[in-house]
Symmetry: C2
Subunit: 387 residues, 2 copies
Amino acid sequence: MYRQLNPPQRILMGPGPSEAHPRVYAALAAPIVGHLDPEFLAVMKETQDLLRYVFRTKNPVTLSVPGTGGAGMETCLTNLLEPGDKAVVCIHGFFGMRMREIVERCGATPIAVEAPWGRPIDPADVERAVKGSGAKLVAIVHAETSTGVLQPLDDICRVAKAHGALVVLDTVTSLGGCEVRVDEWGIDAAYSGTQKCLGGPPGLSPVTFNDRAMEVAQKRRTKVRSWYLDMTLIAQYWGESHVYHHTAPVPLNYALREALLLVQEEGLEGRIARHKKNHLALVAGLEAMGLEMFVEKAHRLPSLNTVKVPDGVDEAKARRRLLDRFSLEVGAGLGPLKGKIWRIGLMGYASSARNVTTCLAAFEDALRAQGHRVPEGAGVKAALELL
Amino acid sequence: MYRQLNPPQRILMGPGPSEAHPRVYAALAAPIVGHLDPEFLAVMKETQDLLRYVFRTKNPVTLSVPGTGGAGMETCLTNLLEPGDKAVVCIHGFFGMRMREIVERCGATPIAVEAPWGRPIDPADVERAVKGSGAKLVAIVHAETSTGVLQPLDDICRVAKAHGALVVLDTVTSLGGCEVRVDEWGIDAAYSGTQKCLGGPPGLSPVTFNDRAMEVAQKRRTKVRSWYLDMTLIAQYWGESHVYHHTAPVPLNYALREALLLVQEEGLEGRIARHKKNHLALVAGLEAMGLEMFVEKAHRLPSLNTVKVPDGVDEAKARRRLLDRFSLEVGAGLGPLKGKIWRIGLMGYASSARNVTTCLAAFEDALRAQGHRVPEGAGVKAALELL
């Protein structure tokens, strides 16, 4: 009645999940032990150390929350905000909008700072919003997966601090692929996903809170609205006392540890340089094919490349051909960008010379198939010069 | 600097996770595809069909929530309750207490109906609590993992309906190992875990809402307090439109589908009979060794067997010996039962003749090691007569 599970081997160059290293797959299938087994407690401790390395933080409360990146976003906001609080929310894409939605569900009032999709947030706008507002925090997305913008953070963090606001940072698509310096930048709470530049499977969300954020969470007047994502309870489970809160998703934790170990073995600097190199090669190739990037050069996200769909090309049909002919997944545009851009991920293990060249060749084929003119072999040739 | 991941092969007879079938491990390591890949959408659809089979329901909204059993509990309560609502919460163990905690965080008022830990809830007490209270729902745990009680439900469901209250049922430790009949019993919302009698890895929570529950969720005056666990959004993602809400934990979904397929191949009736048989054999063995069960015969949970720790025996030391000598995990008592009982799981793939006999032999060894007198070989002998 049911067929045998036999998923195709995809080249995962969408907005995530990205491809996982064979060692990550092996870790997923390692023997399950109890979530309080001495062996698992050792895995948790090692994972915390490795997460501190990738977040570049000394925060004791650095762990993974048992849910996806959206759970990490909600964990940060719902623990730090109480009914009646105000929060400056920077919105320059889909995930900023989600932050605003969650702020409202916390019973807090969002103060929106907006930028057009595809542009970064202007620190001067944040300053105007936060100044004299009494906002408890400023929430911002570092790497907008919906637009492909890498947000500069120095000025915004400085402005938030100057006005006594905490900084909450979304690093879902930047952690492990771009510079993320939690302590140096003065980030109070940050979260990420496992299935992007870290190269793990989806399902967990790394989160780090500094002492200031933990103090805010612990001194609340009201209980956190979500018991499942109550950071004080989750931190107790990850702490020395290991007070039972949930049954850890053991295989996902194994896989995250292995993915983090691969980051550590490569070294963060080398890994970030690799993401940058492959990004530049892909962009050179796309431009040589006559395609236009959606984001201006200064603010492009190396891990997620957004390309304008040329006039007269059916973007869904092109994606379908990439999938059918090359088993290659790229992403479509979200919201106002639906039908207007493709989103090409180069994340973690999937950020490779092989994927850059395959993707360019596949796009050449897909565009030609729709009668769009592309200079023959120009994409791959331009990329090879930079790989 | 870090050792290679090499977890021991445990015999998992604690309160969960339980052991997983080799096919479940293979599914965990199957190639990851995008969460909107046609292949993954097919996996989702099959999973929904299989979940309807194990819940014995026709509810269209039957799916898995991207979190552990606690996320399922919060999903049911936070979607059905609004600030100012009242909810009758039956408390006869740790998980009933958790329900009350979550009801409070929803801004609702819990009306507690209690029974001593180790005893079932009395329907007459529920009737007194719900009558004229205006309670919106009655929440109850079917299989209390903290005590080993299987709660009779017929009368309680009847009473709740008679007074216009919805019924929310926790089937974390019963689904796939005991009778659970969502439609026949008139359950409005139920949740479970994947790592107990279903024999999957931990990390997902199967949830089913009937039309009445979905109507309550959709006609709320206020937004659900948790965006991550908003059932309307999650149901849209699982529905025909597949509106993006979260990136599905793909490997866990593969594994859940495979675990459910194993349930279907065995047949629910046969599987429930197997859980019952192994439970009776284990109990016969424990009693033949002179040990005493914590719960009276009529209300024992086949999937989780609670045994009193004999006077003079250090229960933690005994568990440590089981782990070190036999790689066998059993559970300790929670809360008021700490130090007083052991919790021996016989769940899913782990409910086997092999595990029953190994466990009895290991307990004989652990008790003797502490100078406790046990009739030689009596446990295994008594069990074998029933296996």
